[in-house]
């Protein structure tokens, strides 16, 4: 599953002069299995980039293709199928259900594909050191703990691409390493591609390619 960008420029960034090697206004293809970091300062369009790939934003010119098909033409049903089976996301605002417990948030996602057993979910939660929060509503967790729940939720589905928008922004070094390890193992297991947006390059995940905004 390849992702192809052809002269894409978000309307909001149309008036800005982009660098020659910027993803905006250039054509390039991201191959499945590649590990890509998108490193840029705030306001350059990192979240816009992930939202375009998630089908949430269509306010851009140019075309984005998934498997040679223009994503603008995908129906909402098609997007939900892609999000359940092929594209997995960690959004910057996490998008957890605050009223639901950690367990319920993970089970809700796992019910779509039944990829893992309940025990395996617990094991992943233990790996990121939040076992004691298993039955705690997410709204009562710290941002760092919520971020870890969102990371696990993104990993418990089948995917060809894992797209993460600043996933470690609230994690300390220890937890960043734990999360990076879990992500890398799952991505390697599935031979999937990975796109990570970050303010800095300190993420502990080994990357193949770097993109600029």
């Amino acid at each position: 599953m390849d992702l192809h960008f052809d002269n894409v420029i978000p309307h909001a960034l149309n008036d800005i002069q982009h660098k020659e090697n910027s993803v905006w206004g250039n054509s390039f293809t991201l191959k499945k299995g590649e590990k890509i970091i998108l490193n840029a300062e705030s306001g350059k369009g990192k979240t816009t980039f992930t939202h375009i790939l998630a089908g949430i934003r269509k306010d851009y010119k140019g075309t984005v293709q998934i498997n040679e098909k223009d994503i603008r033409n995908f129906s909402l049903l098609k997007w939900t199928e892609l999000r359940a089976q092929q594209l997995s996301f960690i959004f910057q605002d996490l998008q957890l259900f605050g009223e639901l417990t950690v367990q319920e948030n993970l089970v809700l996602k796992n019910q779509l594909t039944h990829t893992f057993t309940n025990e395996e979910l617990k094991e992943m939660v233990a790996q990121l050191d939040i076992s004691e929060k298993w039955n705690t509503p997410c709204k009562l967790l710290s941002l760092g703990q919520q971020q870890r729940v969102a990371i696990i939720r993104a990993l418990i589905q089948p995917f060809n691409w894992l797209i993460m928008d600043e996933p470690f922004s609230h994690l300390d070094e220890k937890n960043r390493n734990l999360a990076s390890s879990l992500i890398q193992n799952r991505v390697n297991e599935l031979q999937a591609g990975l796109i990570l947006t970050s303010l800095d390059e300190n993420n502990s995940v080994k990357m193949d390619k770097k993109l600029y905004l």
Binding site: I56, K58, L77, T80, R83, F97, L100, V107, K109, L112
Partner: protein, 395 residues
């Protein structure tokens, strides 16, 4: 789990009002449809005459006795009546112009003989089949419909002779005989009573028998039409009555009362049905609004479900299922309430002397099913649109 997310924030007051409205609307609708059918059936089944028509004749006055006013209808008068907006169909009642008498032909009844007057009307106006209401020259029996007054007269006669009285059922099983004659010929035919009428005072025979008698034994004078069968459109009885008053016409009082009662009751029930439909429409609007508010309160939850991969169909199905359960419960409750209402109304009607069929009309159930289906289709359509618009992309 999706249900837990979506229905957590709801304020149920508006839902309860919508459900209560739907309950009242459904109950009124079932009751109106049921009694509209039963009242009309009752009016039609009281008599062998099927209620599609009323027998109309000219009023007899001193002037008509002196032959100054005719009591028969000419073709222009018939046509004029036929052209009225309330008229469906007008048909003359055929009369005999030959001598005919009826006599008992059974040991169960005392010998009785009387000259009579017979008339013929089509099977369309009777609660008998066209096969039963048919006669051919070689048939064993002539089927007849007897006026109830005739049986009363027969029973008065039997009573005077010290003999047991005859019920309608027994009268149907005993034999009578017609004697047809003119100055030169005479013949006798066995007859069989197939029903009774309170609307016509003469003995009714099939048109084919009357034609046979008029042809073989008639005096060959032209036949006069003194009575008409007039069928009218539903709920136009008042117009017919007004027309009859202004044109010096009359019908039998019992037919008038029954017709008037059916007409008034039907209009009232139709009005009640209209009100119930209005209530149902209002409650469904309330329910649609409630769904919209529910979805608006859960905009984030629905959008997040879509973003983690839940299909719009799955979310729509979850919300719709909730309302299907609520409406199914309401519809079942309203039907159950109707069962109790029906028992009460039937009891009151019986006390007032009106005995309707106790069975439930399938049309009332069908009406309920129809409005519930419309209700659910509207709700599904509204929910689907609201869910789809929850993830409106920035275009």
């Amino acid at each position: 789990m999706i249900g837990k997310i979506l229905f957590r924030k709801q304020s149920k007051t508006q839902l309860y009002i919508a459900i209560l409205g739907a309950f009242i609307g459904f109950l009124f609708l079932i009751t109106s449809v049921h009694y509209l059918i039963r009242i009309n059936e009752d009016g039609k089944n009281k008599d062998v005459l099927n209620g599609k028509a009323i027998v109309v004749q000219k009023k007899v006055s001193s002037l008509s006795t002196l032959n100054l006013i005719k009591t028969d209808f000419n073709s222009e008068e018939i046509e004029k009546l036929n052209q009225q907006d309330f008229t469906q169909k007008v048909q003359p009642v055929l009369n005999n112009n030959f001598d005919i008498s009826i006599q008992t032909d059974s040991k169960l009844l005392p010998y009785f003989r009387s000259d009579i007057f017979v008339q013929a009307i089509d099977a369309d106006y009777l609660n008998v089949s066209s096969i039963e209401w048919n006669w051919e020259e070689n048939d064993e029996y002539v089927p007849i419909i007897l006026p109830r007054e005739f049986l009363i007269m027969l029973n008065t006669f039997a009573n005077a002779k010290g003999l047991p009285q005859v019920s309608e059922e027994l009268a149907k099983s005993v034999s009578f005989r017609f004697n047809l004659s003119n100055e030169t010929n005479e013949t006798s035919k066995k007859v069989k009573i197939i029903g009774f009428t309170g609307d016509i005072s003469s003995i009714l025979v099939p048109p084919s028998f009357l034609n046979y008698g008029n042809e073989k034994f008639g005096n060959h004078k032209s036949l006069k039409t003194t009575q008409l069968l007039v069928s009218i459109h539903e709920g136009t009885f008042g117009k017919l009555e007004k027309h009859m008053q202004s044109h010096g016409l009359e019908a039998k009082e019992s037919s008038l009362v029954i017709g008037k009662l059916i007409s008034i009751t039907s209009s009232l029930l139709l009005f009640s049905m209209g009100i119930s439909v209005l209530i149902i429409v209002l409650s469904s609007l309330l329910l649609i609004q409630y769904t919209q508010v529910l979805i608006a309160h859960n905009r984030y939850e629905i959008r997040t479900l879509l973003r983690i991969g839940y299909s719009p169909q799955k979310i729509t199905k979850t919300i719709t299922k909730y309302f299907v359960n609520a409406i199914a419960f309401t519809a079942s409750s309203s039907y159950l309430a109707f069962v109790f209402v029906k028992i009460t109304i039937d009891k009151k009607l019986l006390e007032s002397g009106l005995s309707l069929s106790k069975t439930y009309t399938f049309q009332s159930g069908l009406a309920l099913l129809f409005v519930v289906s419309i209700y659910l289709i509207l709700n599904y359509w509204n929910t689907r649109n609201e869910v789809l618009s929850s993830e409106e992309s920035r275009i």
